[in-house]
Symmetry: C2
Subunit: 421 residues, 2 copies
C-alpha cells in the first residue's frame, strides 16, 4: 500500500476536511520512546506528541492495559478497586481541597462537564476564556473558541485578553475580566466559569505573574464564578517545575480538567473539584459516563503515574527542558529570524520572526517546521500568530535528543528554511 | 480490602452522587464471555452489559489492543492504515450514501458532533428528541433529555411523544413532529436534527411502524432537518434481525452515531454521514479529536467486527433472542405480574405490572432485578415507568444462559419477588 493510495482511501472514507499535519504524507507505523518509524523504516525524533507522555509504546503501560483488558473492563456503577487506587493517587498530587474526581474519556468531556458543574454550583450561566482559547470540541466548549468559530459569539461567552506585559500589580489583566463579566451581565448571564489553559499556549506561552493571577481570580470569585484550570496540556509534570500548570501561576482553581497525557494514548479525561461543587450538581442533576473510569483506563493511568515516578520524568522535564532552552537561546543569538524562547520544561516555543525585527513570520515558521520534519525532527506550531515552533516531546526526551533538535533547527535556518511553502 | 471499606473509599474519592447499580455492593473482579466473578469468587450471568459486546475479555480483542498499543498509538493527523481498514469495513455495512466516518471517543461525543454537523449543513439550530430520550451527557446533548433535566427546556429543543399504537398510516406520530417543529419555529429555531434512539428503549421498546417512520422522517426532511439515528444501543447486530437499528425502522438516516459496543469496552465513538454533510461543516468549521480514531481504538474495533463475523453473533442474537422471548412469554402466561415481552434479539424488556391488571409496578420490577442479581443473574431496568426488566447481554449469550435467566426469574416471582426495597 503506497502512501498515495492511503491518501486516496483517507479522502474517500474520512472526507477532505481532515488535514494532515505536514506538507508531505507522514506515515508512522511504529513508535518507541521518543522515536517514530515510518513505513519505509526511516526514524524520526518526536518532539511534538504529548499524548504518549511516558514515551511511545511504554512496555509498563502496555502491559497494564493488556493485563486489565484480559481480566475485566467494567463501569463505575460497580465497585472496583482500580479506580479508587487511581483516584487517590491523583488526588494526593493536588491541593487538599481538590478532593473529588469524576472520570470521563477526553479533555473535551472534562471541560464540558466542568461547565455543567460550575453552572449548577454558582447558579450562573456565563463563561470566559482567552481571546485565542482552545478548550475542546463539544458544542458548548467549542463556543469558547471565539477566534475560530464561524458563528457570532454565544451570549453566554465573553473573552479576555492575554496577560499584558508591564502590569506589575495585575490591574490591567484584572480589567479584562471585569469587562468580560460586565458584558456577560449585560446579556443576562452571571459568570459561572472562567477557563484558563495553564500553559497559555495559544496566547503565546507567556504566563501571567502571580499578582495578575491573584487579581484575575479574585475578580472571578467576586462575581460568583469558578476558576477552571485546563491541565490538558500543562498537567502531569510537563512544565518541569510543577506537577500541574496552575501551581506555577499562584491561585488555586475550583475545577481542574485533565486529558491528553493521562493514559499515554488510552482515552482518559478527568475532572477534579471540591466535594461541595460536585454535590451541588448531584443535588439537581446526574452524570454517568459509560467508559469513563473503567478499570482498563484506570490501570493505564496508574501505570503512567508509576513510570513518571520510577523514571523521575518531571525532574527530567525540568533538567532537559532547561538544557534545551539554553541550546535554543544560542540559536536565537546566531539567527536573526529567531526571537524569544518561550515556555518551560517540555513545552517550549521558538519565536520565528522577520529578520528585520519583531514582526511574526508564520510562513517561515511553517517552512521550518516542515523542513525539520523532512530531516527527521517532528515539531509543531502554536501562538496567536502561529509563528512559534511548538516543542512538546514525550517526557523521556533526553539531552542528546535536545542536541539533535537544536542542531537540526540550526541547519535548517542556515540552509534558508528549506523549501518554500 | 472489604467491600465496606471500598464503599467508604469510593464515597470519599468519587463523591456520594455516583450511585451503585444494585441495592448490595457488587464487586466484580474478573469477566469471561457472559460471566462475571466477584471478589469472593461467586459467579454471575451477565444479562445486562452491552459494552462487552463480544463477551468480557474476549482474547481476540485483548490481543489486538495489546499488539497495537505496543506498536503505535497515534492520531488522525498522520497517515495510518488501521483507521482506513476499520472505516471501510464499517461503511460497507451501511447504505451506500452513508459514506464518510468521523472517529470520536464516546457515544456522547458522536451525538454532540452530529448536532454541530446538522446545524452547519441545514443552517437551522433546533433539535427534537422523544419525551423520554437519553442521547448523552454533554451540555448540549443532555439538554435533549428534557424529562430528567432540572432546568427549563432550552428554546432550541422540542420533544415528540413516542410512536402511538393504532396509527396505521403514521399521521398521529407525524403530528408530534409537526407540533415540535412549529414550537421550535415559534422560538426562532429552524429544525437542524431529529434524534432517534433506534431501540426506542426509554420509550418502552415499542418501535414505530414503517408507515410511522416514513411520515416522521418526511416531516423532518420537509422542515429542512436531518434524521440522526442513535445506534449506541441498537447497533452492531444486537437486535438480531439487522446490523443497525435504523434498518428495522424503514427510513434511511442522514447521520448515524455509534458508541458503547464498538470497542468491546475500549472507548470508541463514531459518526457516519454523507460526504456533503461533513463537507458543509468543514467549509466553515473544523474538528479534531485527540484520541478519536487512534490506531489502538481502530484495532479494537476491527477485532470486534472480526469476532462478530467468525462467531456469527448477529445470527446468535436472532436465534437465542427468539428462544429467550419464547421462554419469557411462558413466564408471562404463568405469572400475573408479568405483562408483555418487548424488544427483540438481545435487547428485551419484561413488563412488570400489578397483578390486578395493566398498571406498571416499578417497585416490584426493582425488587425482582435486585433479587435476580443476588441469585447470580444480572439484569437492569428501563422504560418510561422504569418497570421493564432490561435484558441486554453480551452477544455470546447462549440458549443455556437464556434458560438460566428464565428459571431464575420464574423462581424469584414464585418466591414473592425477594426482599422488599
Amino acid at each position: 500500500m503506497t502512501d498515495a493510495s492511503l491518501v486516496e482511501r483517507r479522502l474517500r472514507a474520512l472526507g477532505p476536511g481532515l488535514r494532515q499535519f505536514y506538507d508531505f504524507p507522514f506515515h508512522p507505523v511504529r513508535g518507541e520512546g521518543v522515536r517514530l518509524y515510518d513505513a519505509e523504516g526511516l526514524e524520526y525524533l518526536d518532539a511534538y506528541n504529548n499524548v504518549p507522555h511516558v514515551g511511545h509504546g511504554h512496555p509498563h503501560v502496555v502491559a497494564a492495559i493488556a493485563r486489565q483488558a484480559a481480566r475485566l473492563n467494567g463501569n463505575t456503577r460497580y465497585l472496583d478497586e482500580t479506580i479508587l487506587d487511581y483516584a487517590e493517587r491523583l488526588l494526593a498530587s493536588l491541593p487538599r481541597g481538590l478532593d473529588t474526581a469524576v472520570f470521563v474519556c477526553t479533555g473535551s468531556e472534562a471541560n464540558d462537564l466542568a461547565l455543567r458543574l460550575a453552572r449548577a454550583f454558582t447558579g450562573g450561566s456565563g463563561a470566559t476564556a482567552s481571546t485565542t482559547a482552545y478548550h475542546g470540541n463539544t458544542v458548548a466548549i467549542s463556543a469558547l473558541d471565539v477566534s475560530r468559530s464561524p458563528d457570532p459569539p454565544q451570549p453566554w461567552v465573553a473573552t479576555v485578553p492575554p496577560p499584558p506585559e508591564g502590569d506589575p500589580d495585575g490591574t490591567a489583566y484584572e480589567r479584562g475580566f471585569e469587562q468580560a463579566i460586565a458584558a456577560l451581565a449585560g446579556r443576562g448571564h452571571r459568570l459561572a466559569a472562567a477557563y484558563f489553559d495553564t500553559t497559555f499556549a495559544n496566547e503565546g506561552l507567556d504566563k501571567p505573574t502571580p499578582a495578575q493571577m491573584e487579581r484575575a481570580v479574585g475578580r472571578i470569585h467576586g462575581a460568583g464564578g469558578l476558576y477552571v484550570a485546563d491541565e490538558i496540556q500543562a498537567g502531569l509534570g510537563r512544565m518541569g517545575d510543577a506537577m500541574w500548570g496552575f501551581q506555577r501561576l499562584g491561585a488555586t482553581p475550583d475545577l481542574v480538567t485533565m486529558g491528553k497525557p493521562m493514559g499515554n494514548g488510552h482515552p482518559i479525561g478527568i475532572l477534579v473539584t471540591r466535594r461541595e461543587i460536585l454535590e451541588a450538581f448531584h443535588k439537581r442533576d446526574r452524570y454517568f459516563n459509560t467508559f469513563g473510569g473503567n478499570p482498563v483506563s484506570c490501570a493505564a493511568g496508574i501505570a503512567v503515574l508509576e513510570v513518571m515516578e520510577r523514571e523521575r520524568l518531571q525532574a527530567n522535564a525540568a533538567c532537559v527542558g532547561a538544557y534545551l532552552t539554553a541550546r535554543l537561546d544560542e540559536i536565537s543569538r546566531q539567527h536573526g529570524e529567531i526571537g524569544r524562547i518561550l515556555g518551560a520544561g517540555f513545552f517550549q516555543g521558538v519565536e520565528v520572526r522577520r529578520p528585520s525585527g519583531e514582526e511574526p513570520a508564520p510562513d517561515a515558521a511553517r517552512r521550518v517546521m516542515n523542513e525539520m520534519a523532512r530531516r527527521g525532527v517532528l515539531v509543531g506550531l502554536t501562538g496567536p500568530a502561529r509563528n512559534l515552533l511548538k516543542i512538546r516531546p514525550p517526557m523521556v526526551f533526553a539531552r542528546a535528543d535536545a542536541d539533535r533538535l537544536a542542531e537540526t533547527l540550526d541547519a535548517v535556518l542556515a540552509d534558508g528554511f528549506g523549501q518554500p511553502n
